[in-house]
C-alpha cells in the first residue's frame, strides 16, 4: 500500500459483500450493546429524576439565581444544536461538492444530526419556568388573538429548530429509502413489516431512481441554508441582547463555525466506534478518516480565527463592559474553563495535522472527545460569565450549577446515546447503495485510465486489477 495512490475504498468489494456486512451490523446485538443501552437508560433516569424535582419544586434547584437566569441548559442547547451540523455538512454540502468520500460515513452523521436536534430541542423546554405552557411560543390560532412575540429571538428559535428538525429527518429518511428496500428484501418478521412500510414500494427502477436523485438534490439544497440559519438564529439569542460578551456582531459565523467544528469532532468519535464495533474497516477506511480529520482541522482554524476576531474587536473597541468581561474571563473565577476551552479548541487540533496521529484510531478517539469537551466549555463560557459580570456591579456573582442541573446535562448524553444505539440496530448505519455507487464509479474511472494506458502505444501496457472487472 503506497502512500501516494492509497484508495479511499477498495474498489474490488463485491456488492453482495456490502449488503452482507451492513445487514450483519444490524443484527444480533452483542452483550456489550445491551450494557451500553443499560448505561444510557440509567443516565436518562438521572435526568428524569432531576427534572421531576425541578418541575415540582421550581427552577431554584438548578442553582439558578438573579444574575444567572440561564446557565448550563442553554449552553447544552447550543452545544447539541452545534452537534447537529455535522450531518448536513457531510451529506448536503459535500454532496453538492461531489466529494464522494463522504458516502460510507454520511448516514450515521445524518442520524446524529436528527438525534442531537431531538436532544437540543429538550433544553429550551426543560429550562422554562412554566414548562406546561411551552406551546405559547408557537403561533397557534387563539380566540383571544394572542401571538408569540415575533421580535424575540426565542420565538425565532422555535421556528428555526422545528423547521431544521423536520427537514433533517426527512432528508435522513429520503436518503435511506433504497437501503430500506434492501433491508426489506432480506428481512424477516417485524423487520420485514417495518421496512415494507418504510421503503415506500421501492423497486429500484429507472423512474424511481430519477425522481429519487432529484428529490435528494433538492433536499440537500434546501438543508444547507437551513443549517446556516438555525445556528445564526441560536446565536441571535445572544447577539440580539444588550449584554457585554453577548452583543457581538461576529456571533453568527462564529456559532456556525463552532457548530461544524463540534459536529466534525463527533463524527470522528462515532467513526472510530462504528469502525471498531461493527468491523467496518472496509468502509470506514483510514484515508476517509484522514480526510475527515483534515476537514476538522480546517474548521478548527476558522473557529480559532473567529475567536481572535472577537477578542481583538473587544480589545480595540474600548467598550468598558466588554473589555472588563474579557479580562475577567481570562483571569477570574472562570479562567480554568476559559483557558481549557482555548487549549482544547485551538491548540489540540494541531494533533490532526500529523499524518501518523490521524491514522491512529485510539488517539483520534480521545482527541475528538476532548475537542467536544472544549466546545462544551466554549458554549458555557458564552452563557455564564456574561451573566456573572453584567453592567450592574451590585449583582456580580459567580455561580456553579447544582446536581440537578448537571444531572440533566449528563442525562442528555444518555438520551442521545440511546437514540443512536437504537438507530444502528434498526437502520443501516452505512449507506449501502451509495457505497456501491462509489465502488462502481471508482472502478470505472480506474478502468478508463487503464484503457487509455493500454491504447496509448507509447507506454507499455500494464496489468491492473481494476480494469478487467469494470463494466
Amino acid at each position: 500500500m503506497t502512500m501516494a495512490t492509497e484508495k479511499d475504498i477498495n474498489e474490488q468489494i463485491a456488492w453482495a459483500k456490502i449488503n452482507t456486512d451492513v445487514l450483519r451490523s444490524m443484527e444480533n446485538p452483542r452483550p456489550a450493546y445491551w450494557v451500553t443501552v443499560a448505561v444510557c437508560v440509567a443516565m436518562i433516569s438521572v435526568a428524569v429524576f432531576a427534572e421531576y424535582i425541578q418541575y415540582t419544586e421550581g427552577m431554584g434547584y438548578a442553582n439558578l439565581n438573579n444574575p444567572h437566569m440561564w446557565d448550563l441548559y442553554i449552553a447544552s442547547f447550543v452545544f447539541w444544536i452545534g452537534m447537529s451540523h455535522s450531518g448536513t455538512l457531510l451529506s448536503a454540502i459535500l454532496h453538492l461538492m461531489h466529494s464522494d468520500w463522504r458516502k460510507p460515513i454520511y448516514r450515521f452523521a445524518e442520524a446524529m444530526t436528527t438525534f442531537s436536534l431531538l436532544t437540543a430541542g429538550l433544553f429550551p423546554i426543560i429550562h422554562l419556568g412554566r414548562v406546561w405552557n411551552m406551546y405559547w411560543v408557537l403561533p397557534y390560532v387563539s380566540d383571544r388573538g394572542h401571538w408569540p412575540n415575533f421580535r424575540s429571538p426565542l420565538a425565532w428559535d422555535a421556528f428555526a429548530i422545528s423547521t431544521y428538525l423536520s427537514a433533517s429527518m426527512l432528508f435522513l429518511f429520503i436518503g435511506m429509502i433504497p437501503d430500506l428496500a434492501i433491508c426489506r428484501d432480506h428481512g424477516k418478521g417485524w423487520r420485514k413489516k417495518l421496512y415494507t412500510v418504510l421503503a415506500l414500494g421501492w423497486e429500484g427502477n429507472d423512474r424511481q431512481w430519477r425522481h429519487f436523485r432529484k428529490t435528494y438534490l433538492l433536499m440537500a439544497c434546501f438543508l444547507i441554508p437551513l443549517a446556516v440559519s438555525v445556528h445564526s438564529i441560536v446565536s441571535a439569542d445572544f447577539a440580539m441582547a444588550i449584554m457585554p460578551g453577548w452583543h457581538v456582531t461576529s456571533f453568527p459565523p462564529y456559532f456556525v463555525a463552532g457548530a461544524l467544528y463540534s459536529g466534525c469532532a463527533a463524527i470522528i468519535t462515532l467513526f472510530v466506534l462504528l469502525r471498531y464495533f461493527f468491523r467496518f474497516e472496509d468502509y470506514m477506511t483510514l484515508p476517509i478518516m484522514e480526510k475527515t480529520a483534515k476537514l476538522t482541522f480546517a474548521i478548527a482554524m476558522v473557529w480559532t480565527y473567529l475567536n481572535l476576531v472577537e477578542f481583538a474587536s473587544i480589545w480595540y473597541g474600548h467598550n468598558v463592559y466588554d473589555k472588563e468581561l474579557l479580562i475577567a474571563k481570562a483571569t477570574g473565577a472562570y479562567a480554568p474553563i476559559f483557558w481549557s476551552m482555548i487549549f482544547l479548541g485551538s491548540v489540540l487540533p494541531f494533533t490532526l495535522a500529523f499524518r501518523s496521529l490521524r491514522r491512529h484510531m485510539p488517539t483520534m478517539f480521545v482527541v475528538s472527545i476532548l475537542l467536544n469537551v472544549g466546545m462544551f466549555f466554549e458554549r458555557w463560557m458564552i452563557v455564564a460569565p456574561t451573566l456573572s459580570l453584567s453592567q450592574e456591579p451590585h449583582q456580580w456573582d459567580v455561580m456553579w450549577g447544582s446536581v440537578v442541573e448537571w444531572g440533566i446535562v449528563f442525562g442528555s448524553f444518555g438520551w442521545f446515546g440511546l437514540l443512536f444505539l437504537i438507530f444502528v440496530k434498526v437502520f443501516p448505519s452505512v449507506s449501502m447503495y451509495e457505497v456501491k455507487e462509489m465502488v462502481f464509479h471508482r472502478q470505472r474511472s480506474a478502468g478508463e485510465e487503464d484503457l487509455i494506458r493500454m491504447t496509448d502505444h507509447t507506454q507499455p501496457a500494464t496489468e491492473t486489477a481494476g480494469g478487467e472487472e469494470s463494466k
Binding site: G58, M59, G129, M240, A241, S390, Q391
Partner: protein, 281 residues
Amino acid sequence: MSLDNILNNWSDYRKGAEEGGHHDYEHRWTMAINLDVCIGCNACSVACYAENNLAVVGKERFEKGQAMHWMRIERYWDQAADMEHPEQGASFLPMLCQQCGAATCEPVCPVAATYHTPDGLNAQVYNRCIGSRYCSNNCPFRVRYFNFYSYYESAWPSPMEQQLNPDISVRDKGVMEKCTFCVQRIRTVKDRAKMEDRSVVDGEAMTACAQACPTSAIVFGDTMDESSAVSQLWKKHQVKRGTYQSTRGEKANPNLRGYRIFEELNVDPSIMYLERVREDV
C-alpha cells in the same frame, strides 16, 4: 377557537405584538431619587414587600441570589484614594425597575408577556409569562426577579396569608416579576379620578417606597403633568427623557446633580437619581 373568527377578523390578527417605546402616553410615571438624603434604612424595601406580596425567601436562598426584593438598597464602599480623598463609608443606591422607555426586556420575551403601557410603565403579565427568563438576562439593571420556588406556603404560613394585599396576586413558581411602580395604586387613583370626572392630581398616586421613605428621598409623579413635583425636579436638573445625552459633559451647570443610570445604553430609564454631595470634592 374557531377558524371563522380568524377569517372574519383577519385584520385584528395581523397586528402582531405591541410596538415598543413610543405611544401617545396618557401618563408618564416617573421617579426622582435623591441619593444625598438616602440613609440606606431599607424602609422602602420593606414597604415594597408588604405592598406587593413579595415572598421572604429565607437566609439560604437569599445568599444564593434568589431573593425577591423588587426594591433593593445597593451598598457601595468608598475606597480611600489618598489623604485628600479619605474613605467616606458606604453609599446607598436604591435600585428598582427603571421602567425604561426603550426597555431591553420587552422585545426579547417570546410570548410578549412584558410590554409598554400607555402609562409609560413596563407591564409584566404574570399569566402570560412562561418563564424563559430572557427578559432578566437582557436587563442591564438586573431588577427582574424570578419565582424560583413556590412560596405561597413557606413565605406566608397561616394565618399570615391574611396580611396579603388583595389588590395584587401572589405569583407562583416559574413566573418573572418586578417593580410595577405600584400599578394597583395608580389604577385606584385613575379610577377614582375618572369617577369624579377630573384628572389625576400630583401626589395622589404614591408608590409604597416613596410613601415609606423617612427622608423623602423618593419623589414619584407624572411628568406629563408639567406642574408635578417630579417634573419640576427633572427640569431643574436638566435631565430629559428620550435619546442619549452625555449628562456629565453637556450640563450647563456642573452643580446639577441629576443623572440616569446607564444613560449610555440608551434604554431611556424613567428614574432620575440625584448624586450624593461629597464634602471634599
